[in-house]
Amino acid sequence: MTTRDVPLGTVQIGICSGHVNYPLYIRSVPTQGELKFHYTVHTSLDVVEEKISGVGKALGDQRELYLGLLYPTEDYKVYGYVTNSKVKFVIVVDSSNTSLRDNEIRSMFRKLHNSFTDVMCNPFYNPGDPIQSKAFDSIVSAMMVQAC
């Protein structure tokens, strides 16, 4: 039962303008051990980079945004999603969590992407700033509760 405390680790959105990767939004449940998740998310960005540069050459312009499972570690599963504007979404879940299938993760990413689009459309939000939107927060919270 203790492992169920960390069902959905972190939801992070990192933006890559040019070749800069820095987080716009990091959220994890529960909050303890958050630093470790930051580390996981940051390292996963390299894998994301590798995947998109590889696929881009092979398939030309058409590319699936959802990258699937990036890599499994002992404790976590890391999933990635990259928009065509190179905004990266990463979801880290506990590897013992079996309730989340590929399809669920995929739809979570799509939902994240949609809410991120809404945030971008807020005229008071400057692209590149950390996301502080309450609406976005509540959508992410709802998603995390659902995933538990």
Partner: protein, 180 residues
């Protein structure tokens, strides 16, 4: 003449995101130019006024509504024809004052604020204040002086957006002296 007939028939479609973002860019630019929210509200109202005094001509040409006999009729025309025509929404008219000179327009949804979240440092900003100016300017051109303000706003956490309109007086047409 052909332009005239065009106006009456076609209801042009416009991309709502473009519209919302354009208005958002306008407001945020004003926020940058004027440090003070009150000043931004004033500017929005002034712009709205300038839109209103022009838009009324377009409205009268396209809608072919006649003269309103009382303020209630005016309210209905604003809500059911004008808002429908220009914003694609139909606000409800409620909360009449006993004297019948003041009412509220309740907007279930406001297309101007689709993606907007007001940051904490703009608590005094009336984001959609342009609408007040439009209404004021338009009615002024049909000899009605009105006071328009936002009573509730979904951006400030209210459930609906409420625009309060108060009739002040009829503007008498002032004839130039000695001219019959």
């Amino acid at each position: 003449m052909s332009r005239q007939s065009n106006r009456a028939t076609d209801s042009k479609k416009m991309n709502s995101e473009l519209f919302t973002l354009t208005y958002g860019a306008l407001v945020t630019q004003l926020c940058k130019d004027y440090e003070n929210d009150e000043e931004v509200n004033k500017q929005l109202d002034k712009m709205g006024y300038n839109i209103g005094v022009r838009l009324i001509e377009d409205f009268l040409a396209r809608s072919s509504v006649g003269r309103c006999h009382d303020f209630r009729e005016t309210a209905d025309v604003i809500a059911k024809v004008a808002f429908k025509m220009y914003l694609g929404i139909t606000p409800s008219v409620t909360n009449w004052s006993p004297a019948g000179d003041e009412f509220s327009l309740i907007l279930e949804s406001n297309p101007l604020v689709d993606f907007v979240e007001l940051p904490d440092n703009h608590s005094n900003l009336v984001y959609s204040n342009l609408l007040c100016g439009v209404l004021r300017g338009a009615l002024e051109m049909v000899q009605m002086a009105v006071d328009v303000r936002f009573a509730q706003d979904t951006l400030r956490g209210d459930n609906v957006t409420e625009i309060r309109m108060k009739f002040i007086k009829r503007i008498e047409e002032n004839m130039p002296a000695g001219d019959e």
